[in-house]
């Protein structure tokens, strides 16, 4: 094992990265930071967000390439198949990449990068963050694409929950042993209970003292806002001392407003609007119970964030949610109005017995990004040791095994990608490309670099509130607002 632990040079590719906010973005960022801390070299490649174009440096010298690709549908870039193969080659050579890690099946940038990286001879790892169906036209198409790309070009697959693994294995027809399950984690230093003197008091008797329910998600159908709109009037009626804070924005906001107006709940339920991710914890600690009514989730980060903040968590038992927290830390309900109502009742009864600090400490031991990075590095090690035949004929055979039409199409794409990269090699040989200097991020250098880089980082944070949410990810957590 010691012989296998070596330093990898990883290029993370995804359409979804800062300054956009969401589960995938957070995952990539945290994973990259922890891998850098463990001695690997990580570079992130994504598409340009408005003015955010070119090369930027984030904390710890994490280099991000914002490529001039056109975002097409919900921050996913326009599929151009071969349009940026040359660019990817230059980046991989410059950064001395040994491995490419793509994120999210919905990201065309990641899928194309897998194909080109395989043509370049790099090893490829892919992480899927969401659950997809099998029945509608869009899902069928995407599943077929995934089957071709994951089967032929990708050496290792990671999923964020066991349910997500089952889903991905069925969608892409993969052998189950090829898929590793590495959950997301939560930055528990950021999500702590509020112990300051001005904090919301923890009630000891829920019949007389106020109890606050918190909802923090995008207000869309997939997050179960319809269920919530059915349940809120009933909850407010049964418990006169309950108040509800709803954070987040989206198309279903009108529905909630209508329900509030119809039942006269203006003083009990307040719609707070969009809450930026850096203020999510402050929003959550204003309440005692966190309610999640999602209809589908691969791994709901919001639940773990709420549990780390000390709240009692109620959620519909869909997708990967039952795997996320132990039963004594979460109240699981059926995805129906009656079930959710009953779950909220049970949660309210748990409130007096809740110890936020104890719960926070437990969550701190359960989820840790460094652990995620270590397990991911193990996947990298096994993938780097893979001796699969990656020559073009074997790749074409693997594409054809995914299906005749899809195999022919992707075989053609792979062939053209190889030819294009050969042409690029002739046009711009390896020797003509500068190698980026291996950064030395030991502490004294780090301080100096940070001082000079602070302006850049602040620029990104300043531009952060601009961008539209990445709506297309079913499994994003608390960051989706």
């Amino acid at each position: 094992m010691a012989a296998q632990a070596r330093q990898h040079s990883v290029v993370m590719v995804s359409d979804f990265f800062y300054p956009n906010f969401g589960g995938v973005e957070n995952h990539i960022y945290q994973l990259s930071q922890c891998l850098v801390n463990q001695g690997h070299k990580v570079v992130v490649v994504t598409h340009a967000y408005g003015d955010c174009l070119g090369v930027r440096y984030l904390t710890n010298g994490l280099k991000v390439y914002y490529l001039p690709r056109l975002p097409f549908y919900q921050q996913s870039s326009f599929p151009s198949l071969l349009g940026w193969a040359r660019l990817l080659r230059v980046i991989c050579l410059r950064e001395r990449a040994t491995l490419l890690h793509g994120h999210q099946a919905f990201s065309t940038l990641a899928l194309e990068a897998c194909i080109h990286a395989s043509s370049l001879g790099l090893k490829v790892v892919f992480t899927d963050h969401s659950l997809f169906g099998f029945a509608d036209a869009g899902s069928i198409l995407l599943n077929k694409v995934l089957k071709a790309v994951l089967g032929a070009d990708v050496h290792g697959v990671i999923c964020v929950s066991h349910t997500s693994k089952e889903n991905t294995v069925l969608r892409a027809c993969l052998p189950p042993a090829a898929v590793a399950v590495i959950p997301n984690a939560v930055d528990t230093s950021q999500f702590t209970p509020d112990l300051s003197p001005g904090a919301v008091a923890w009630p000891r008797d829920t019949a007389v003292e106020p109890v606050v329910l918190v909802v923090l998600c995008r207000l869309v159908y997939r997050k179960g806002i319809d269920l919530l709109s059915l349940v809120l009037p009933a909850v407010c009626e049964r418990h006169p001392h309950v108040r509800v804070l709803v954070g987040g924005d989206g198309p279903k906001r009108q529905l909630l407003k209508k329900v509030i107006a119809d039942h006269g709940l203006q003083s009990r339920v307040s719609l707070e609007g969009a809450v930026p991710h850096e203020r999510a914890r402050d929003f959550m600690v204003r309440g005692h119970v966190f309610v999640n009514a999602s209809l589908t989730e691969a791994f709901c980060m919001a639940l773990v964030e709420a549990a780390a903040s000390g709240l009692v968590v109620v959620s519909t038992a869909v997708g990967g949610v039952p795997e996320v927290l132990p039963p004594d830390m979460i109240v699981l309900t059926e995805p129906s109005a009656e079930g959710l109502l009953e779950g909220i009742e049970r949660a309210i009864q748990r409130v007096p017995h809740q110890c936020p600090q104890v719960q926070h400490r437990r969550v701190r031991h359960m989820y840790d990004w460094n652990d995620v990075a270590r397990r991911t590095a193990v996947v990298y090690d096994s993938v780097a040791a893979s001796r699969r035949n990656d020559g073009l004929p074997a790749r074409l055979a693997r594409y054809l095994a995914a299906g005749n039409c899809v195999g022919a199409l992707f075989g053609l794409v792979a062939l053209m990608s190889v030819l294009l990269l050969r042409l690029a090699e002739w046009w711009q040989p390896d020797s003509a490309i500068d190698r980026a200097p291996a950064p030395d991020w030991s502490v004294p250098h780090r301080q100096a670099k940070l001082d000079s880089g602070v302006a850049v980082v602040a620029d990104i944070n300043g531009a952060a509130s601009v961008v539209q949410q990445s709506e297309g990810q079913p499994a994003s957590g608390c960051g989706d607002l």
Partner: protein, 381 residues
Amino acid sequence: MARLRSRRGRPAGAFDSAADSGGNGAAQSEPLRSGTAAAGQDPPSQQQGRANPVAAIAAAADSLPAEGSAPRWEKVLWKRQPFPDNYVDHTFLQHLVVNDAVPRRRYWPVVLASTAVTQQMSCVVAAAAVPLHLHAGRAGPMQLLAACGVLLLLGYTTCAVLGGQLLGGSMARGVRQCVLLLGGVYGLAPLLHSLTATVSTDSVVALAAGLAAAHLGLCDYSFVNSVTDKMTGALSLAAAVLAAVLVAGRMRTELETFAVVLLALELFLLSPYARRHVRRASVPAHLLLTAAMAAAATALLFPASPAGSGAFAGSVLVVTLVCPAALVRGQVFKAKISGPWDEAAPHIPRELMPRKAEAVGGAAAALPGVGASGPMGAARL
């Protein structure tokens, strides 16, 4: 467990250790040891040299570390478990359900259901053949009007007898609705006659053919098959009526136009209700009616175009016998996968969906007098 993958769905050869040369299997099935596995514990299936991932999984299940009771794998993420990250438990895909709500189709019931399509095709062909006869002079408008009157009376009687109640509540109301229908169409006939005067016949024929195809494609067949209670498919009805109006504009006199439009309205707007009553009442009568309609359409089309009538007869046979066979055969390949990853579909009551509430409320009101208010109500101009 039913077959998860069709023949086409074989896993891509990358991981099929039999397919690839070079012993990739060993490296592939190398268990990815969780970074936090207990230090002294040798994770299962660490014994290598096995190229077969299945054997590795079996080894994982067998050779669990013998430390008192063997730890059981749990499907949780919050606990660190002494299993590799890519460990596959025997409970993997335990909750997968294939084809749970898919009805099994049998040949003869599908043939029976396909008679609705035959009936609709006959209506279209009859509505197309009659203007051809009028135009060629083989029939006169008065004969057509008489036929329309007879059809109207027949339909009304069928609905009244089989529906158990008089349409519109009483005889006087029924007659009043009839008069309104006839009067309305008669009044509009001059307008409809000159509507398409500037459109060439070729365009009219092409448009009418396209609209007839759209009508057949979008028609509400489940209503005639008495599966549903309310006639939907406004678009198909509009297409049929528009085609009829276009064709009626080609007629020479306004009386002919009136007759053609009246016939089309009866066939497309009113006959579904009568046919539905017949279907609900008895299946043999329904089959007889279908055969009669098909024969009548073929006979009507024959003088105008023998080839066309032959083609129509052939297509009736195909729709009745061949298409159901294809559907039943195709059902074998259906694999509807469901499991815990599916998006939950909670029951959201009507109040939260205003548009659907009106439709449902309308259906509920129409239910007791579906024959009564339907045809005449729709014909009220």
